[in-house]
């Protein structure tokens, strides 16, 4: 809601320095709550609109490892078709599953690196859990566009190597209170700076069971 209200103004400001350049544009965005608090793990996705050059098909390999009975990273953004490995670095086994519509899967009680990575081929949100550790959770946002980034602890994200052109900007966070409306942005060669607002709860670490916390 906030985004919808503030984006046109932002775009007006950014319009001037936008220039097409072969070197590629850079977007520096800062995501904060309406109260001004930086939002980490917020995902910014840029979808090139018509007129924009064909998207570079890179199929990077993603990893969500399990360490200390936690998924790491918590939030992962992948282009559709990306294979994700779930290496288990713990001494205990894990049972990784997802009931989310875009990708249902289940890796039953395994240790070490499972033989097959999971390929996320449909765009959408996938919530991942561990059947034997209820507190473990991870989110994978599967997008079509190759242009995306995730905010760091300071709420800052840089997306580079962007071909100049018009993009549809989509903002997402696992704990967002509402899906933010998408905005459009014109990018030139010059780096652009954006301040984005997203009303999302901060991640609260979920307590482990007492036995897991014991260090033996």
């Amino acid at each position: 809601m906030f985004l919808r209200a503030s984006l046109p103004a932002l775009l007006a400001v950014l319009g001037l320095p936008l220039a097409s350049g072969a070197a590629g544009a850079i977007l520096d965005a800062r995501v904060a709550t309406p109260a001004g608090k930086p939002v980490p793990d917020a995902v910014v996705v840029l979808e090139p609109l018509a007129g924009t050059g064909p998207a570079a098909k890179n199929r990077p390999h993603a990893v969500i490892e399990q360490r200390g009975a936690e998924f790491s990273p918590w939030v992962t953004v992948v282009q559709a078709g990306t294979a994700v490995d779930f290496p288990n670095n713990d001494t205990v086994r894990h049972h990784v599953y997802s009931f989310s519509q875009p990708k249902r899967f289940e890796i039953k009680l395994y240790a070490g690196k499972p033989g097959q990575p999971i390929t996320f081929d449909k765009p959408g949100e996938v919530a991942i859990g561990c059947n034997i550790h209820d507190w473990m959770e991870a989110y994978v946002l599967v997008v079509e566009s190759p242009y995306f980034g995730k905010t760091g602890p300071d709420g800052q994200v840089r997306i580079a190597n962007l071909p100049a052109g018009r993009y549809r900007l989509q903002l997402w966070h696992p704990l967002q209170k509402a899906q933010a409306a998408a905005g459009e942005i014109e990018l030139a060669a010059a780096p652009a700076k954006l301040n984005l607002v997203l009303d999302a709860r901060a991640r609260e670490p979920r307590p482990h069971t007492a036995a897991d916390q014991d260090s033996y």
Binding site: F99, R104, A127, G129, C130
Partner: protein, 776 residues
């Protein structure tokens, strides 16, 4: 068992006090237990309510936990994630059964129903309890009591389904019905009801009551929340309170007062038993104790009663040595004391102290106790000339002589029923014989016993006796009469010197005539001097020294109309016995003194003697009366001489003496009549204010018999003179007797030889004639 009053009082006091104390104790216990029942009931209800509340919380947590565990089941989540209606419905039914939930519903995160165990198609409908969803959004889960459309009450638990983020809600409902209420009731010990307080009044949704109790349950008078009240339901009183459950749902909790009361009423009941038994034991104990106290008292009282009736021989009850035992001992001592004193009294009353023989009283009583028809006789023995022996040898000798005689006559071969000493030297026998011959034989045996001389202090004494016998029933019906008749017979025997005489020989009138005698005497007295039936004859007394008659003895004569002159011996003893003499004597005294005054007026110098009987002498009026008469007729007291017999003195010596002294003080002369018949000693007579001694006529007639008798009379005259007494001899019948007496110093003579008794009118002539004779 009759309770005497003492016994009853003891028992009443004991049992009454116990009942009082026990009543107080019971009241106290009752009041305390009522108070405790109240507070215990209140506490019990509060505790039960806490248990109920805790149970409710625990139930809810358990349901929540169960629901959480179910919702975390992988297969369940997987099935829900399929979003396939039949799959979802079957999985919620299946998993609902696992945790015994009657109703299961699944709603999406937006509050729309996805699946329900109750409905085939639920998708799209709204979740029926949005308030629970709202609560679960904020706190992760929620629970509450809800009534479903079928009217049934459920406890509903709402938990999220996490995969791993919340993908849906699952609601599980557990039926809250009468079974649930009974379970809760069982654990809490209270009656449990769930009531909805809606706009249309309270509605009972579940209850641990059965149908009958439920019918009696009234929801109208429920107390306000947090307050307790006592409600009647059926035949039980319930302590009731309310507890909020959820919204309009409230739990109503009830504690039966009887469960709290039960131990107390049991205690009270046992206490009542104890009290009852204690009272019984106390009553029995106090009755026993009272008996122990009262029984000896009753026995003592019985013993006292027997003692009062004269039975001293019975043994007193044996008693323990407590206070009552000591009382019994003292009682026994008292009885022994009474017995011994009575024995002494009886001895004093019935035994003659001198001879140890029964006395006159005993004799009379023994006679009276004989059966009415038994033949018997009474004999009276008199020792001849005893008075003279007494005088000559001293009364100690006389007493020993009487003792000796007593011994002899009580050791007869044919022992009589009783030998008694009447008085003086008079002994009486009670004989079991009926014929005169037998009596004669007995009298002979008695006289034979006395025939042997008695030796006292080396002195041989010849004694003899005379016996008078009266037979029963010819001579009298009672002992008094028989004794009197026997005495009369004795006098006759002495007179005749026959040694023995029977009463009928003594010439006494038959009893009927005697009875008419007293009536006639009364009539004669009533007529007085005018009637002229009683009159005085005067027998002159001759002064033997001067030969002058200067005194006369007044003798009573009775001219009975129709029968002429009555012999003095026939009515005077009778008058003395009946006491009528007390009426006659005053008349005699009055007549004699009047005559004295008359003679005095005629210039006759003469004194008059009058006889006094025993009864007269004991009359306290006598001295005063004599004085009054003398003064009235102006007669010098010295002109009057009163004659008293020895026996008159012996009956009541002290009283007689005081009267004699009074008479002597008047100046009246006193004379002892019939001296020698009794046992009075001269030494005793000397102590009396007596002037004169009249020897009994038996002495005078005996003078001529033996020189020994003459010697006794002579010594008596000498002794009398030595004591300052003048001696009068009565019954002088011959010139020899007169001469002997004159020769032996006797002062005065009286008798037929001198003159028979003559009327007063004749006396003056007689005196004149006598003077003429003397002067010739």
């Amino acid at each position: 068992m009759g309770l005497t009053s003492l016994q009853r009082r003891i028992v009443l006091v004991f049992v009454g006090l116990l009942v009082l104390v026990m009543g107080l104790v019971l009241t106290l216990v009752r009041e305390s237990s009522a108070r405790i029942v109240g507070s215990e009931g209140s506490n019990g209800l509060v505790v039960g309510a806490k248990v109920f509340q805790r149970l409710l919380d625990q139930n809810q947590r358990q349901l929540e936990t169960a629901a959480s565990v179910l919702s975390a089941d992988f297969a369940f989540r997987e099935a829900i994630a399929t979003q396939d209606q039949p799959t979802m419905r079957s999985v919620i039914r299946n998993h609902g059964q696992r945790i015994h939930a009657q109703v299961m519903m699944v709603a999406d995160t937006d509050g729309a129903l996805i699946a329900s165990s109750q409905r085939e198609t639920a998708a799209g409908a709204a979740f029926p309890f949005p308030d629970l969803l709202l609560e679960a959004e904020s706190s992760g889960r929620s629970a509450g009591f809800r009534q479903m459309r079928n009217g049934q009450l459920y406890q509903v638990v709402l938990v999220p389904i996490m995969a791993p983020r919340r993908i849906a809600w699952v609601a599980m409902a557990f039926r809250v019905d009468d079974g649930w209420a009974r379970d809760m009731a069982e654990v809490t010990g209270l009656a449990v009801h769930v009531v909805r307080f809606g706009a249309r009044g309270p509605v009972l949704l579940a209850s641990s009551f059965d149908a009958r109790q439920r019918a009696a349950l009234s929801l109208g008078g429920l107390p306000a929340a947090g307050r307790q009240a006592l409600l009647e339901a059926g035949d039980e009183t319930w302590r009731t309170m309310r507890l909020p459950l959820d919204g309009a749902m409230q739990a109503v909790l009830q504690l039966p007062v009887s469960t709290v009361e039960a131990p107390f009423s049991q205690l009270l009941q046992r206490l009542l038993w104890v009290v009852g038994i204690a009272i019984l034991v106390f009553a029995l104990g106090s009755i026993t104790l009272a008996r122990r106290i009262v029984k000896p008292l009753e026995e003592l009282s019985e013993a006292a009663h027997r003692i009062a009736q004269g039975d001293y021989g019975q043994a007193l009850p044996a008693l323990p040595q407590d206070e009552i035992g000591r009382l019994a001992t003292s009682f026994a001592h008292m009885r022994d004391g009474i017995a011994s004193r009575e024995e002494r009294i009886v001895r004093l009353a019935y035994v003659d102290g001198l001879t140890d023989l029964p006395n006159r009283t005993r004799f009379l009583e023994t006679f009276a106790r004989l059966p009415a028809g038994a033949s018997r006789a009474v004999a009276v023995l008199n020792i001849d000339r005893f008075a003279m022996i007494n005088n000559a040898l001293g009364y100690q000798v006389g007493d020993r002589l009487l003792r000796e005689v007593g011994e002899r006559i009580s050791t007869l071969e044919r022992a009589p029923l009783m030998v008694a000493r009447l008085w003086g030297d008079h002994f009486a026998f009670l004989l079991e014989i009926e014929t005169e011959d037998c009596a004669r034989g007995f009298a002979g045996a008695v006289l034979q016993q006395l025939h042997d001389p008695i030796t006292l202090d080396g002195q041989r004494l010849d004694i003899g006796g005379s016996i008078g016998i009266a037979l029963y029933p010819q001579d009298g019906l009672d002992a008094g009469t028989l004794l009197r008749r026997a005495e009369l017979a004795l006098a006759a025997a002495k007179r005749r010197r026959s040694g023995l005489a029977f009463a009928h020989e003594a010439g006494a009138e038959p009893a009927p005539e005697q009875l008419s005698l007293i009536g006639d005497m009364r009539a004669a007295m009533a007529n007085g001097a005018h009637g002229g039936e009683f009159m005085l004859a005067y027998q002159p007394k001759l002064d033997l020294k001067s030969g002058r008659v200067n005194a006369a003895e007044a003798l009573l004569r009775w001219r009975r109309p129709g029968s002429g002159m009555v012999p003095p011996g026939s009515f005077i003893p009778f008058a003395e016995q009946t006491g009528f003499i007390r009426e006659i004597t005053p008349w005699v005294l009055d007549a004699a003194i009047r005559q004295l005054a008359q003679w005095q007026a005629q210039g006759l110098d003469i004194a008059v003697s009058a006889n006094l009987s025993t009864l007269d002498l004991l009359d306290p009026e006598l001295p005063r009366r004599v004085k009054a008469l003398l003064e009235f007729h102006r007669v010098p007291p010295a002109r009057l001489c009163l004659e008293i017999t020895e026996s008159a003195l012996m009956d009541e010596p002290a009283l007689a003496l005081s009267h004699l002294n009074a008479l002597a003080a008047l100046g009246v002369k006193l004379s002892i009549d019939d001296y020698g018949v009794g046992q009075a000693s001269l030494a005793y007579l000397k102590s009396l204010p007596v002037n004169e001694l009249k020897l009994d006529r038996s002495f005078i007639t005996a003078i001529a018999d033996s020189p020994r008798n003459a010697a006794i009379v002579k010594s008596t005259i000498m002794l009398s003179h030595a004591l300052g007494l003048s001696v009068v001899a009565e019954g002088i019948e011959t010139a020899e007797e007169l001469d002997w007496l004159r020769a032996n110093g006797c002062d005065v003579g009286q008798g037929y030889r001198i003159s028979k008794p003559i009327m007063a009118a004749e006396l003056a002539d007689w005196l004149a004639c006598n003077d003429a004779i003397r002067s010739e």
